[in-house]
Symmetry: C2
Subunit: 305 residues, 2 copies
Amino acid sequence: MKHRRTQSGPRSLSALGEKGLLHLLTSSWKTDARIRTGVGDDCAVLRGEGKAHYLLFKTDAVVEGIHFTAKTPPGLIGRKALARALSDLAAMGATPHSAVITLGVPAKESPSRLRAIYRGMETIAKKYQVNLVGGETTRAAQLFLSVALLGECRGYQPVLRSGARAGDLLFVTGSLGATQKKHHLLFEPRLAEGQWLARHKLASAMMDLSDGLGADLPRLAESSHVSPQLDLASIPRARGATLKAALNDGEDFELLFTVSPSHVKSLKKKWPFSTPTHCIGVIRPRGKQTGGSNVAHGFDHFQQR
Amino acid sequence: MKHRRTQSGPRSLSALGEKGLLHLLTSSWKTDARIRTGVGDDCAVLRGEGKAHYLLFKTDAVVEGIHFTAKTPPGLIGRKALARALSDLAAMGATPHSAVITLGVPAKESPSRLRAIYRGMETIAKKYQVNLVGGETTRAAQLFLSVALLGECRGYQPVLRSGARAGDLLFVTGSLGATQKKHHLLFEPRLAEGQWLARHKLASAMMDLSDGLGADLPRLAESSHVSPQLDLASIPRARGATLKAALNDGEDFELLFTVSPSHVKSLKKKWPFSTPTHCIGVIRPRGKQTGGSNVAHGFDHFQQR
């Protein structure tokens, strides 16, 4: 197993960071012809039957003390555990299919709290037509739920992070910076919006905002090998949110997507949802000065839209 | 979210037990027509395209201090995490497809240990042609890996726990009671054997032995509404294992399956594997005296086989 060799690795997780850790753990992974897209997008994309059928596969976890606390209403813990993964399906335009749950549970945990957590998960599963089909319970020092979710795109292509092209315009659903006031527990995953964008081939790239626009936009840009320019004044802010909050607060769970200039008119005309969508920037060719992490400073051209 | 209502639930997990907890959490789950079998078998069974295509969906976790320790060679931790879930696919006769991993990791964890864990997982993934396609990392108090695994049966039916009929004979692969000596880290999931039994329609019911024959056989019996009778003398024991160990030790990860009397000759003649298989009992109609948990006392008729 060669674990002696591993002495040469980096010294600490904090030095490495999440991106470095992911690279360390997964960069040697290889996939076969059954897989269209592995690590690096919101979900993995598995080839289904025929040309326009894909299975989307995702896992996501919530841990006590990190994603919720002892004071969080239990039903909302279960709701959040599933909603987070649903948001990743939404980000590719997929329809939910089935989920399995791993529950890690301390010996002293109250069964009634667990039941309430599961009732909350069941309620949102029903709302979005997710089949809860199985799971596993294990003892653990700390309560956690890991949700594995399967979805599909049938008759159309999932929208990847990597499809943005120079000249595309950048859009976001809803408003940003609303992580106060239990938004992280109560948000609605943008499934209908994501599916609609994918079915109508209107989004060239898409992802969900889980770590804040300032952290997530560079990921989309890096996947697409482009540089984004934000029009800061156009970023829709939640009531009371500062620009800083709109850029940096995590757990918005809105959709960030790019649209070819030739499709923008169609998008604006046909958008059928009460959730608003706003243009917040433009995609530029990858420049030497403006790296993937450039998300600052207003973009004036943009006023032309 | 009605969490006040949950005050009426049972007081403690230990009073409830794992079976009681599962019932509490999942008995209200409902699934739609896309699902063939939800909670209660080794994997969930999802309908694929056409009549003889099924997707199998499973999650399983390993937690530090419970499934492995600080002294466990890291590569074997990763190996075990995936092998356990593979054994559940084997138990239904499925072929592995793809896996996603949730990693819960304490801040002070060593990146090189994590890398070695993932290398161990990658090695067994390659061996059994599992695509590692994604995952999620989160901070946690205790190291854990939750593996969600997707498999399929294409052109044949998965073998459920519920298909055993009175008169069927009971078989097991390999030998039991070998949980000493790192067997729980080094076992080979019986994928080829499970697939062969399913493809040839030789097993009427099947499961893998993860909690010991004495605990698992009653589960198969309960699913099938039958009573098993064991021929204790016929149970193949690992070198040095007592009968008690063969009955009670967990983590054997052998296959337990039932075979119609009309298929036993064919099974014995065609079995193509170096792993032996032994007949260890017979299935009886569910009797009032002999409940699902009756796994004691030798079975004499059985010597006739």
